[in-house]
């Protein structure tokens, strides 16, 4: 384990995987403050990748660069490349609106649209893209709500306000809303931090079902959550990617001393 010992450890290279997203030298700043200092990372397809690290390490910024949400903040800039299926999402010819549809996001605090019904919330993304037919909308709504394991709980009250549900249900509603536009990737920014343990467990189960159809990236500061749901984990610190490995290996035997110190709680 570097650099404390000079021990020769057996080969630690990652087994090969097919990537969905690759970042090359990705840098992100708020004005003159550089928060991401050049990230080279490959995100495996149809797996759950956890992005972990202490506050201020850049993990949320990293994820918000992947759906081009970062640049919406005044003064925020991005450098470098982020390839989605091999094509740079920051290329001049790319429309950010299109990227944001392909890379969906679920936020820390559930944010359903309170002035819309549950049904309208779920299909909000569809109506944006011009989908009108009642039948199509209803079918998609049911499909998405089922995928989010929310259908049975709300099928009789689709007309109720989106804000009338419990916290956990609201979050699943937001997941259904994100899934309705059929993204390739689902970004989840600490999706369970505002939820109680039961709701959290439901979301975690949901994630392990969803990964078969989507590539999921989850930002979490909860290491137990990462070890429960994530196939791969990346550890960020002060804007750099310190280590990236299969979750089990990273948690049992991290390569970097910094990782070891963070996950065993010896920081600070």
């Amino acid at each position: 384990m570097r650099p404390a010992e000079e021990i020769d450890v057996s080969d630690r290279s990652l087994p090969p995987f097919h990537e969905k997203i690759e970042t090359r030298g990705l840098k992100a700043s708020f004005g003159s403050n550089m928060v991401l200092k050049g990230i080279d990372l490959r995100i495996p397809e149809n797996k759950i990748t956890a992005v972990m690290g202490p506050s201020g390490c850049g993990k949320t910024t990293f994820v918000r660069c992947l759906n081009r949400l970062h640049e919406l903040t005044p003064g925020a800039t991005v450098e470098g490349e982020a390839l989605l299926d091999g094509k740079d999402i920051y290329d001049k010819s790319v429309d950010p609106v299109d990227i944001r549809r392909r890379v969906g996001m679920v936020f820390q605090k559930p944010n359903p649209f309170p002035t819309m019904s549950i049904f309208s919330n779920v299909v909000a993304g569809l109506t944006l893209n011009g989908v009108r037919g009642k039948e199509v909308l209803e079918r998609t709504a049911e499909r998405s709500l089922r995928a989010a394991y929310l259908w049975d709980e709300v099928k009789d009250k689709l007309g109720n306000s989106g804000a009338s549900l419990s916290g956990g249900q609201q979050q699943r509603l937001c997941i259904a809303r994100a899934l309705a536009v059929e993204p390739d990737v689902l970004l989840m920014d600490e999706p369970c931090s505002a939820l109680d343990p039961t709701a959290t467990a439901k979301i975690e189960e949901l994630m392990t079902m969803l990964k078969h159809d989507y590539t999921i990236i989850i930002v979490t500061h909860n290491m137990q959550q990462a070890s429960r749901v994530a196939d791969y984990t990346g550890f960020f610190y002060l804007g750099k990617l310190v280590e990236f490995d299969e979750t089990a290996r990273l948690f049992e035997n991290p390569r970097e001393e910094l990782t070891e110190r963070y996950i065993t709680g010896k920081f600070g």
Binding site: M1, E5, I7, V9, M223, F251, E252, N253, T264
Partner: protein, 207 residues
């Protein structure tokens, strides 16, 4: 600032060191009794105490894992502590077995005990190395143990061959065989403890 977990980890470490010391003493006492004759002092009590400590270590490790969900070196330490504790427990157990052989066979002063004594010294050295390696988390020392294991193994097998061939006094050869067997088992455990020490430090799985 120490973590909550550190209290428990230190407790386990302390228990293991106590077991190490006790088991070392037990083995030395039984070997001394073999060489000089006479009763082995307190080996039985020590063995029982080590057994009790082993159960404590086992329970405590499980509790730590359940409560703190440890990772990395903490996790490896806790996994290993049960194995290492078992190793020390076996040291003590075999020391007791050796004294039981001495009780059963009585006076062995007429036997040629040189090879056994020689092997015993090597085994004691391996015990000392395993304890040291564990106490200091010294991976270099841990890696030296397996080569000594070969010497102990071959000594045991050589004696076995001679016993099969029927050479020498039955009492002598049988007692020697049994004691060598126990020494060989102790040596195996010492080797395993060494591998556990390496695992804690580097994460390399034991063979």
């Amino acid at each position: 600032m120490p973590r909550l977990m550190d209290i428990g980890l230190e407790q386990i470490n302390g228990l293991l060191l106590e077991m190490a010391s006790l088991s070392q003493q037990a083995v030395s006492a039984s070997i001394d009794a073999y060489i000089k004759g006479g009763k082995a002092e307190g080996v039985k009590d020590m063995s029982h105490r080590i057994h009790a400590l082993h159960r404590q270590v086992s329970d405590l490790s499980m509790e730590m894992i359940a409560r703190y969900q440890p990772v990395a070196s903490d996790l490896r330490f806790l996994k290993s502590s049960v194995e290492i504790s078992y190793g020390f427990f076996r040291y003590g157990r075999y020391a007791l077995d050796i004294t039981e052989v001495l009780d059963m066979f009585g006076d062995l002063s007429k036997c040629d005990r040189n090879s056994v004594v020689d092997t015993a010294r090597k085994t004691q050295e391996m015990i000392r190395m395993s304890v040291d390696a564990f106490a200091k988390r010294d991976v270099e020392m841990a890696r030296k143990i397996p080569s000594m294991d070969d010497a102990v193994d071959s000594s045991y097998r050589e004696n076995l061959r001679r016993t099969i061939q029927g050479k020498g006094d039955v009492k002598c050869s049988l007692s020697a065989t049994l004691i060598l067997r126990y020494l060989e088992r102790i040596a195996d455990h010492a080797t395993y403890i060494g591998e556990m020490v390496e695992y804690i430090a580097t994460g390399v799985e034991p063979n």
